[in-house]
Subunit: 253 residues, 2 copies
DNA sequence: CGTACTATTGATAGATATCAACGCTGGTGG
DNA sequence: CCACCAGCGTTGATATCTATCAATAGTACG
């Protein structure tokens, strides 16, 4: 089912009643294929439907008057693009596909029927609040950490988020972005990102190459990035995710 | 009434029915005085009540393992500290009073009764979404703009937010923070903040001294900071706030 | 086989941080 | 009342970090 990925994402925060799962499965969906590099939603518009990423990778971004671009969030499978169209008038940022994406369009009526289900509504709200917490962490990361640590922290976060949706295999996951996009994410120049990545690789922490991230030593990476996972609020539900899964043995992990 | 400031904040996004205003006025409130520098809520706790700032100035902040501090939001009168305690288990950041604050404690039951009123619930959700949009803007600001522009942008934002709660008199408002706190907000060193402030003053854009901000030329300040107010989503409701109020004439403003 | 885009590297320039010193202010205790 | 102290603001000198520039190479793609 297309919405499996949404269920997986929501259940990371808490179990979902069987009837709600059935409800999700019964929805008829209209999906759309978006090519890498294409915009899914553009700033200034007010989308008619709500968009949900099913596969691929997308990002929220802002373009500055000086021509620079800031990537302010990554959207993984199961993430909503624009759940706020109900409340706010116009998009204050754009959303673009970093890799080819499958996106489903959920009519507003569908969303409203989802919100009528308390368990679903609660988990949706929770996901929104975690998005906000993640932004606070990004402000902290970009504002206070030097280049290599900044990148290490981002990689830790993405690693955990990818694990939630079962996208990590053998300490490796697809991260189909260029160094240029990474630079726009962490607020560094391309060249400096390149050199910082080399440092992280030399430290035997992580290798990023060809749109693929190989975590060599997650504990080291966490230490380098000063990473604490509490802001993702997975602790209570999925303690196994919070603890490391690396080569080091952790029987209760 | 203590909650006047909340009403003012909410009505910045849309009118509130008379009966909802009456409802707010009828609430019995327990207020608390917090000294400057004291924590209102600390990371790791799960507050019993929801806190709302009535007067003064507070901030959300995070402390890093390397001892640095990041200020990730300012809380003005009418802002909630921890509306998310219903959903998330523990605070992932702390909240501290920058100046002496009056804070009211709203029992969870009170919040629930507020959420039962559609107009109030809608405006609360809207305020939450604007908080998130503001964080995206901060990520952009800190990540992409050089020092002076970064500070100019922050000042523009605070100027608009202060106007919403009628805290701007004569192009001037109280901003009771130190340069050190400003540095932790924009991700710069104290010394560099000091020098950047001097530049902004020399440009005749803004003067920050003694916890007070005097806007000399708001249009210039906006230009320096590359400021676009759309992310605050005041456009539809309070267009007069969005356009300039400065010496330059703008007949259709 | 060009033509982009991406990655990489070294050299240099520019921005920001750190260090150090000083003055100012408000409070505090003698 | 005065001496002292702590926090804040200010300034200049220096160190470090990061950006920019330039060149090269690899890769995908038409």
């Amino acid at each position: 089912m297309l919405l499996d990925v949404l269920r997986k994402r929501l259940e990371a925060f808490g179990a979902l009643p069987q009837e709600d799962v059935a409800f999700l499965n019964a929805l008829s969906l209209q999906s759309r294929l978006v090519k890498a590099g294409a915009d899914i939603i553009r700033e200034g518009t007010n989308p008619e439907d709500v968009h949900l990423v099913i596969s691929g990778l997308a990002c929220r971004y802002k373009t500055l008057q000086n021509g620079k671009r800031a990537i302010v969030a990554y959207l993984l499978p199961g993430d909503f693009c624009d759940l706020h169209v109900f409340i706010l008038q116009a998009m204050d940022h754009s959303i673009s596909a970093l890799a080819e994406c499958i996106v489903v369009k959920l009519p507003r009526a569908t969303i409203l029927s989802m919100l009528e289900r308390p368990a679903v509504a609660r988990l949706l709200l929770m996901a929104t609040l975690v998005d906000e917490a993640t932004l606070r962490e990004w402000v902290t990361n970009i504002g206070q950490r030097p280049a290599s640590e900044r990148i290490a922290h981002l990689f830790c976060e993405l690693y955990l988020r990818m694990r939630v949706i079962d996208a990590v295999k053998d300490h490796t996951f697809e991260l189909p972005i260029t160094q240029s996009e990474l630079a726009d994410t962490v607020g560094l120049s391309i060249v400096h990102v390149n050199k910082s990545l080399r440092k992280l690789r030399a430290a035997n922490a992580v290798t990023f190459k060809g749109g693929r991230l190989v975590i060599t030593d997650i504990e080291l990476l966490k230490k380098l990035g000063g990473f604490k996972s509490n802001y993702l609020h997975l602790d209570d539900v999925l303690p196994s995710l919070v603890l490391d899964s690396g080569a080091t043995t952790r029987p209760n992990g």
